[in-house]
Symmetry: C2
Subunit: 308 residues, 2 copies
């Protein structure tokens, strides 16, 4: 799957991920109204609204980019119905040839991580039948519990040729509270990065590992350091656009080969029609606004990489 | 909800939580067969089997203990169908008067944590209607992202009078890999514990805070220290029984008032019928075996607290 991701990045010339994080406030009123007319103002109605919203965006951008990253919390907030919309989104994106990075940030003690791993990446045995649960291509993982909380994910990835992005330095303002604490002069995020590099050696693709890392676009200096600490790990970079990151800030997340990073934008793409720059499309044409935002983002990052 | 938890602990004299973590291998064959006969060897069939298993156990133990802790991963491994069984379990336990601690270990950047918070503890707005998703009483939270990843949970807890248990020192063997790292001579888990105490001041019940902590039964020395660091926080203590903890090792997790901790056992209760000690009940009477195991666990912990 890491080889497929690289192949798709090279074909699209776009190291870009669209974050499918559909807050209801992003969903145009006409889409919400149609869904509520059918299912009422219920969890089912909300789930239908976000699914219809996602589908139209995916239809408009799927040829431009290699991957999408649905944030499961935005679905889980609508309970079981919301998670059914998450599953529909995952399946639809894969049917369109997109690689799906499930932003689930799971992580627990060994036996529990194993259950998350089979549920999201592998197969679960029911009697004599192997069944698939959510079936994403990659997921994000929280490392706070240490190696025995991470290894069960890697084991399933090996079987399924799937991958992980492990939280190293997150994009939020208070990420430093624990992640920046100095351990013998080295920040904790760097120790986690060293572990990611080591875990990554356990499961290598042709040139990069199946085990990647999450490092926020909002911390470019740390990104530069972590790029060296984890030379064979892809870095998933959230925080572009709405959270503040820009193409020129992100060049050091990439290796010399122009690979090694994939940049996520969520609100900046899926709610583009609400921005002044794309206002001309109007709420009716929110899919086209998203396409224009993706094109601009690709140009920004491509330009920054060429200019370095 | 923390006041209710304390009230129920005092009425049952049992600072005990039953972990409803139904691996299919724990579910007796007759229960599995019945479910597969109806729904096939499918995710739905598995979900039905674990729901029937849970219900029978809950019926046998609900008068003995204050709370249950379903581990969502054990349901999530069966996809959307599994999560529907999780929701049914949550609702059923609450209808029986049990306090439900959703062991979900969620945690993300602010806006995403807010979505998890409304989905699990609060209400989500759909048009003009406020809907509830999973509706547990407490959930567990991962602190790796820092304060702005935790505060949205606390905000929703204030509105709903619900609570949290934040991971401080987990029960697994490699929990020390990051959690024990020394920052100016102080282990990271202690810094997290100090934050839990501070976050807890934001949302106090009558005598204890709505913001508690998770500290593994497998680390009694650290439990003793953390008890002092977070005097007003309840400690949820997993790892009793199958993972190695025993009543006498756990007395220092409690305050002098006999409160301040609640001890979880999962496999030791729900798969009791598979143990030699409760083998006489047989797989047919797995619910009675669970009841006997709960009674023994309560006696062990009560005895240890009285002997100190």
């Amino acid at each position: 799957m890491i080889n497929k991701l690289i192949d798709r990045i090279q074909k699209t010339h776009a190291p870009v991920v669209a974050g499918l994080d559909p807050m209801l406030s992003y969903v145009p009123e006409h889409v919400q109204k149609r869904a509520y007319a059918e299912y009422g103002e219920t969890l089912r109605g909300a789930a239908e609204a976000i699914w219809q919203f996602n589908r139209e965006i995916v239809d408009h951008i799927c040829d431009l980019i290699p991957a999408v990253k649905p944030q499961i919390a935005m679905y889980e907030q609508f309970g079981v119905e919301g998670l059914a919309a998450y599953k529909k989104t995952v399946d639809y994106c894969r049917s369109k040839g997109l690689i799906v990075i499930g932003d689930v940030k799971r992580g627990d003690i060994g036996s529990t991580s194993a259950a998350y791993a089979v549920g999201h990446l592998g197969k679960v045995q029911v009697g004599n039948t192997a069944c698939t649960g959510f079936d994403e291509d990659f997921i994000t993982v929280n490392p706070y519990l240490g190696s025995d909380g991470v290894m069960p994910f890697i084991e399933v990835c090996k079987e399924e040729k799937k991958g992980l992005f492990i939280l190293v330095k997150t994009s939020n303002p208070s990420s430093g509270e624990f992640q920046d604490q100095l351990v013998d002069g080295t920040p904790l995020y760097e120790l986690v990065g060293e572990k990611v590099a080591r875990w990554g050696e356990e499961h290598m693709g042709d040139t990069y590992s199946y085990v990647g890392a999450v490092v926020g676009a909002t911390y470019p200096a740390q990104g530069k350091i972590l790029r060296r600490v984890m030379p064979k790990s892809f870095i998933l970079v959230p925080g572009y656009g709405a959270q503040g990151g820009r193409g020129k800030d992100l060049v050091h997340f990439f290796n010399e080969d122009g690979l090694g990073a994939i940049v996520n934008s969520s609100r900046g793409i899926i709610a583009a029609y609400k921005q002044e720059a794309y206002g001309k499309f109007g709420a009716e044409n929110f899919g086209e606004a998203s396409r224009a935002a993706v094109e601009d983002m690709i140009a920004d990052i491509r330009g920054a990489l060429e200019a370095r």
